[in-house]
Amino acid sequence: MSQANSVPTSEARADRLAKRSRRSRRSAVVAVAFLALVVGVSEWLTPAETSSNDGGTGGITASRSQAVVNPEETRSTWFCAAGTSQPGGRADETLTIANVGGDRSSIADIKVSVMSGVGVATGRLDFKLAPAGSALSSAAGLPSVRSIPVSSILANPDPGVVVEAIGAPVVVTHSVSGAGDVGATPCARGGSDNWYFAGGTTLLGAEQWLTLFNPFPGDAVVDLSFFTNTGVEAPGEAQGVVVAGTSRLSIPVHDLVPRRDSVATRVTTRRGRVIAEQVQIFNASDGVRGITLVAGAPELAKKWWFSGSTAQEGRSTNVSILNPGATRVNVRIDTALEGAVTLAPIDLEIPPRSVSVTDVSSRVPAGTPFSWSLRMRSSTGVKGELSAGIAASALIAQSGIGSGIAADAGSPFATSSWYSLSPDLLGGATREIAIFNASNKRVKWRIRPFAALPGSKVQRGTIAPRGLSRQSISVVGVTQVVADGLVTISEASQGPRGLILSGGLPVCPSPLVGGTSGGPRC
């Protein structure tokens, strides 16, 4: 091989090497670029976060104004709107406050303020509560639960109560008594711009009182709308209602929209925030006598759970469903009997801006505990417009022996831990806690009375999916229900002074599955 031939060969080889080197570099660069693109595309394809409105996989959602308890919090404020505190009042109010801090908690400093308006003296009561069942309780001689008639602090026809607790977590409920009956509900944790009351009636013999409490310094201006069986009504005197700061207002709905079979109420604030509750008084004109107290729903939801009632002779259980939206909604009512038996669902179509009342106990055999839940299936209306949800409320009316009425506003979410606190006003009453398994798996539950004596028995059990368990409890005060799945609870008491149905207080930070769209508070 001559030298002349070798030179081109070596140049060609170098050229090939250079090309190969360039090609490899280019491949690497293109690979890096594509890698970046793949990352982006994969992110694009990642499904968006699931909506909290999905009852199966939802996140932690509960309105701030709802009575949610965080056992870790050492400061809390509760607002109790309804009730009266003067002699001869229509709904004498009693507070029940319990320290739920547990053995390792501290003493709670409680400050109760009874507000009655701007420039008017505020009633004050300060006291301490020891954690239930702790050594502090016996050593300091402090109670862990205390019931206080509001009239003992300040006599007023429209008292608004603020309970501030520092040092330990507490729960606060209040009850009203009148017409030979008692009604109870947990107090609210905060104000809201909107409140919904699905149930109500202004027929002859029924009084429906809406109480609006503004504990804040500024005035609130409120508009009221009533959804009745005859349509939506917004009386002029119910518009632009001023609720002065640190005061409460009682509005007789039965005067504004008289003689309506069903009256649902929507409270909307133009300015400020209020706490709204509703009291209904029946004076036995149709054989039903008693008083109910329900807290408003600060938000609409697409699911509502009602933990129970027991079908009885002379007892009716009617659920009111409010659709305040502009679209027609389809709602399914699922009824579960004790023993994991379910009834055929009831499908309802509720027109826009209307209220529907359904008797859910009519198909249930007498003596059978049952629970029911509502699920908004779809909404139809203007294209692209979906209803924000519905509000619901149940009214249980018992006539005859052991007459009385009770109302339950239901719960828009299920969780694994609940507190129940009933007022100690029903001497000789039977108390039952209904636990409804809202999940699709068998759930173990445990009921633990807070102030139980050492060695007292803890009730345990399991519930089938979508099943119901009803347990009698013998102790008074605070009871905690803990499950390993999503459940809802309610407590029913019946005795000489009437019938009480009280929803539980969900506990944070246990996972909440809800049908609301409020901000997370746990």
Binding site: R22, R26, A28, V30, E43, R64, F216
Partner: protein, 1086 residues
């Protein structure tokens, strides 16, 4: 020109000879019209002796003597006094002016001493004409001056002095001094003579170039003061003549040309400090003692300023001369006392009357501008450059490239029209700047109103805004707007330069610039009020270019230090707004490094060295403020206030705000990808580096949020800046490849993709054009700061603070973070940019954070009780960028609900999108806690009124250096105070709260100044080392031979001589014209 000057009509026949070269300027018309009459009126003219004092005379001496010899004046005698020249000038003089008298002094004693010899030597002369050896008098100049002296009874008369080389350029038409005695001429540099100064008028003094003096006046006031030499003899003489009651006038029709190149040797050889000292001495001699009381301190102050500015400008010698001049003047007061007494003994005019003749303003300032800053040179330079630029622009604007540039600039102007013509809303970091005075005051203050207030250093942002505001003569609003509007074109210009260096000139560079301009990043930054990222966008291409040059990836840098200093200064300005920008060079170096494996290893390590230097340089320029950040836990001060979970697909399109949505955002990325496939050679390597920049930028914006959606990080617009540069560069390289690489290959997919890429580039350009329609880059038309201006009026009830809460992106400051909630504190309303960067949170400053934590967790329904003692009166929660604006961004963590449930917050009416609360139990920041009717009452503290006894409270973290005083007495601290400052006021009286120990701030300011001076010095030193840079000549045109040893003894050339019986000149020897041996003969005769 001169030769074309018309002959004077009616003038005497001058005949041939050198005098014919002396031209009469066209400004003599009025004179020539009445010339005959004037001649008759002044037929008997007073004798004049022209005195020319020379030393080592230059080449113009002959011309001067010829002109004197040719004067149209019947009775003038010329006397040349040689003040110790190294060579005898007599032969030269004899050759051209044989009738001139010469008097030699063997040793040099200065102009004044030499000139003063005429007092004893000359008798019979009515006037003395002193002139320089390079001053050429017009033929009628002396006659005009004498006539004016006779007509106005003036003691001193001067001519108009024009430049020898160009008679149309004025040099002097009389001189004046300012109130502090600093001389100056009212002629602008290179001012053209258009007869604008041709009025006969009084002036303060006549310079020594040519000066007609009445000989009796000269003798009476003792001639020139030798101690005023060098360079101030004329000022001193004129001043003394003035206070003696003599008029000093200028007769502009008498014209003298001057070469400005052969000043008297005293001036050339003089130490600048001596010149300064002599000028001060003139003032000390002639002004009254009472006047000196204010003149001397004022002059010293001005001199100090001038010295400082000279030092900053790198004229260290000049600076020293100024200071030494005062030393010379002040130490010579005792020796100058006789001269002062003599001058004052002749005083007939008060200083008040003298002041009317002095000019307003400061001659020193004028001199500094004209001299030290070389304003004339620069003006000329700018003019020439402008002309060149205009010519070039005119040619280029007709090219496609020029058209593209014009279109882009027009679009930017259209897109910014509302911002330019209207107002810039105060959103994000675009808060209004304080006035220049307030800014400098705050910068030099020891107190910062941020969070709860603290004694701490001001961030450099205040220095930058005050500095820029000063440049704009206090128009801070204009400066702020221009900074926003100009940032985008500046970034594009930088990208164009980068593209020109990397991708090549022409289309490729333009495409790089246009691609950089149409990237949505700056529009989103403007829309969200992100000033820091916007500035980072503007400087990033220059940074990339600079680092590439410094590390040798591009043409080697000839002046690396200067480049590093320049880039550091740019980066420091940007970092003053947005501290994360300081890492920009490191990000660029990282990009070069990750691309190194694909670029034959070039720049693996090289980029880090200049990047580190620039970063450290920037850090040094920001000193001492960065020291305050040591041990910082809250990143808000560093700009780490934001979080979120933007999708990578949005980041890739720079869709971080309202701009960037749609498919157009993908086009640039696709083109950049195509470039990797079609480029080759160096363009391929640079395309890889461009992708490295993109990967670094995108990763910086994407990776942190993958770690946690709540992790504090800088704003994304800033993090994406390297990616924007990389993308634009890649697109520019694509254009270059299209023009070169693809064209060389056969038709295939490369060509197709290249054509598609070109067409597709129009999409983002159209998107950019569409964004210009709004006229304000989607900025809100109004901000919360504008609608909340009423708050300032509430301070009458006491100083208060405002707590801002909400999404960090909506707050008009760099917020602190508690979880997802951003917070910040302003004082007495919405404040200005002084609170933009919060102070580092330490100690009790965290009380604000704790209160926010309580709100965020909803753990209290009486948050007012927590905030009230902190002086917080209002709580603002914006959920939109401004009133009635979109988008609506809900406040995080449900804080609006929490605040609405507070029992001690009063909700106030506000525009939609803003929740506004007033803290019911708020206490003024400066409060007095007193007792009324047995109850504690908190009232605002009055500094100017009587406060009742009580406890004075200042709601700011306790510091021993904060003191309260009442009637001059320091109040005793109250021991019970928790975190705040409290003092006991035992009796009623006014109270003031003061911060002591300002030395820290003074030290900090001095340190910062020293660092800047050092940077300037480094910049200049590298500039002076640069090749092809000729050093400016201090004295131009000096052609004198080197000095030799002076003769040891004086040599007298002749004895006393009388001329025409009227004038006699002693000790001067007439020189007769002779042949070439005249010099030898004269010396021999002597």
């Amino acid at each position: 020109m001169d030769s074309e000057a018309p002959e004077m009509p009616g003038g005497p026949d001058l005949g041939p000879g050198p005098s014919s070269e002396v031209e009469i300027s066209g400004s003599d018309h009025w004179f020539t019209d009445g010339f005959e009459d004037l001649l008759e009126e002044t037929a008997h003219r007073p004798p004049v002796v022209a005195v020319v004092v020379i030393r080592d005379a230059g080449e113009w001496l002959e011309e001067t003597l010829l002109a004197l010899d040719s004067l149209d004046y019947p009775d003038v005698t010329t006397l040349v006094i040689d003040d110790g020249s190294r060579y005898d000038p007599t032969p030269r003089i004899a050759e051209v002016a044989p009738r001139v008298f010469v008097k030699r002094r063997e040793t040099s004693s200065g102009f004044a001493t030499a000139a003063n010899e005429v007092i004893a030597s000359v008798q019979g002369a009515t006037f003395l004409l002193f002139c320089h050896g390079d001053a050429v008098l017009d033929r009628y100049a002396l006659k005009i001056m004498v006539d004016e002296a006779v007509r106005s009874n003036a003691g001193i008369v001067g001519p108009k002095v024009v430049r020898t080389s160009d008679r149309s350029h004025l040099l002097e038409v009389g001189m004046t001094v300012d109130r502090l005695g600093a001389p100056h001429t009212e002629i602008e540099p290179d001012e053209i003579d258009q007869e604008q100064h041709d009025a006969v008028r009084d002036v303060f003094f006549i310079s020594g170039v040519a000066m007609l003096v009445r000989s009796d006046l000269f003798a009476e006031i003792g001639g020139f003061d030798p101690d005023a030499a060098p360079a101030a003899e004329d000022v001193d003489f004129g001043w003394r003549a003035r206070i003696a009651g003599a008029r000093v006038m200028v007769a502009p029709d008498a014209v003298v040309t001057h070469s400005i190149s052969d000043s008297f040797r005293d001036c050339l050889d003089a130490n600048p400090a001596q010149v300064e000292g002599a000028r001060h001495r003139a003032m000390l001699t002639s002004a009254r003692a009472l006047s000196l009381l204010w003149m001397v301190p004022s002059a010293i102050g001005l001199s100090l300023v001038e010295a400082s500015l000279s030092l900053v400008g790198g004229h260290r010698g000049r600076s020293g001369a100024i200071l030494r001049g005062w030393w010379i003047a002040l130490t010579g007061i005792r020796s100058g006392r006789p001269a002062r007494l003599a001058a004052q003994s002749h005083r007939r005019v008060s200083d008040g009357e003298i002041r009317y003749l002095q000019s307003h303003g400061s001659s020193r300032v004028r001199r500094f501008l004209n001299g030290t800053l070389h304003a004339d040179d620069r003006l000329r330079d700018i003019t020439e450059r402008s002309r060149t630029l205009t010519d070039t622009a005119g040619a280029r604007v007709r090219e496609p490239v020029g058209i593209a540039v014009c279109i882009f600039v027009a679009l930017v102007a259209i897109g910014s029209r509302d911002l330019i013509l209207g107002s810039l809303p105060q959103i994000g970091q675009m808060r209004i700047w304080p006035s220049v005075g307030e800014g400098w005051g705050a910068f030099t203050s020891v107190w910062r109103d941020s969070l709860l207030g603290a004694r701490t250093l001001e961030p450099p942002l205040l220095l930058v805004t005050s500095g820029i505001g000063s440049i704009f003569f206090g128009a801070t609003g204009l400066a702020r707007t221009l900074l926003v509007v100009v940032a985008m074109p500046v970034g594009v210009l930088g990208a164009w330069r980068l593209g020109r260096s990397v991708a090549g000139p022409g289309i490729a560079a333009v495409v790089t610039g246009v691609a950089y301009g149409v990237i949505p990043l700056p529009r989103n930054a403007i829309a969200a009020g992100r000033m820091g990222p916007l500035l980072a966008y503007a400087i990033a291409p220059v940074l990339v270019l600079g680092i590439a040059r410094l590390c040798g990836l591009l043409e080697a840098e000839s002046r690396p230090r200067r480049r590093i200093v320049s880039l550091s200064v740019l980066l420091a300005v940007c970092s003053a707004w947005w501290m994360p920008a300081i890492a920009l060079p490191l990000a660029i170096a990282a990009a070069f490094t990750i691309s190194a494996p694909f670029t034959r290893g070039a720049g693996v390590a090289l980029g880090w060295r200049p990047a580190t230097k620039i970063t450290l340089g920037t850090l040094a320029l920001l000193l001492p403020w960065p020291i305050t950040l040591i041990g910082l836990h809250n990143g808000a001060t560093l700009g780490f206030s934001y979080s979120g979970s933007a999708k990578m697909l949005d980041l890739l399109r720079f869709h971080t705000g309202p701009a960037g949505a749609g498919a157009a955002g993908w086009v640039l990325l696709a083109v950049a990808l195509v470039v990797l496939l079609i480029a080759s050679g160096p363009r391929f390597e640079w395309a890889v580096r461009a992708w490295g920049l993109m990967i670094v930028g995108f990763a910086a914006a994407w990776i942190p949020q993958q770690i946690s959606s709540t992790i504090p990080m800088p704003v994304r617009e800033g993090l994406l800046v390297p990616a924007a540069v990389g993308l634009a560069l890649a697109v520019g390289l694509g254009a270059a490849s299209l023009l070169t690489d693809v064209g060389r290959r056969r038709f295939g997919w490369r060509q197709v993709s290249a054509v598609l890429a070109t067409v597709a580039l129009l999409l983002p350009a159209l998107a950019f054009a569409a964004d210009t329609l709004g006229g304000r880059w989607r900025m809100p038309s109004e901000s919360w700061a504008d609608s909340l201006s009423w708050m300032e009026s509430r301070s009458s009830a006491g100083d208060f603070r405002v707590l801002w809460l909400g999404d960090p992106a909506l707050l008009p400051l760099d917020p602190g973070r508690s979880g997802s909630v951003g917070y910040g504190v302003t004082s007495n309303g919405v404040s200005d940019s002084r609170v933009l960067i919060p102070i580092p949170e330490r100690g009790d400053q965290r009380l604000v954070r704790q209160a926010v934590e309580s709100i965020r967790t909803g753990s209290s329904n009486r948050i007012g009780a927590q905030l009230g003692p902190l002086g917080v009166r209002f709580i603002l929660v914006p959920e939109t960028p401004g009133p009635d604006q979109r988008p609506f961004i809900a406040a995080p963590d449900g804080i609006t609900s929490t605040l609405a449930d507070q029992l001690d917050l009063l909700r106030l009416e506000a525009s939609p999108g803003l929740s506004l609360y007033e803290v019911v139990p708020w206490q003024p920041v400066r409060a007095l806690i007193t007792t009324e009717a047995g109850a504690k009452v908190v009232v605002p503290l009055r500094s100017d009124k009587k406060n009742p006894p009580g406890v004075v409270r200042f709601a700011t973290p306790k510091r021993s250096m904060i003191k309260a005083k009442s009637d001059g007495k320091t109040l005793k601290s109250e021991g019970d105070s928790n975190w705040d400052n409290s003092w006991v006021l035992p009796k009623a009286g006014p109270v003031s709260i003061v911060n002591s120990a300002a030395w820290l701030r003074i030290f900090a300011v001095l340190l910062q100044g020293a660092i800047f001076l050092l940077a300037i010095r480094m910049w200049r030193s590298d500039s002076q080392r640069a090749p092809n840079k000729t050093k400016r000549r201090r004295v131009a045109g000096s052609t004198l031979p080197p000095r030799e040893a002076a003769p040891s003894d004086s040599q007298v050339l002749g004895s006393s001589v009388s001329i025409d019986g009227a004038v006699s000149i002693d000790t001067a020897l007439p020189i007769t014209p002779s042949d070439g041996s005249s010099t030898t003969e004269t010396e021999a005769g002597a």
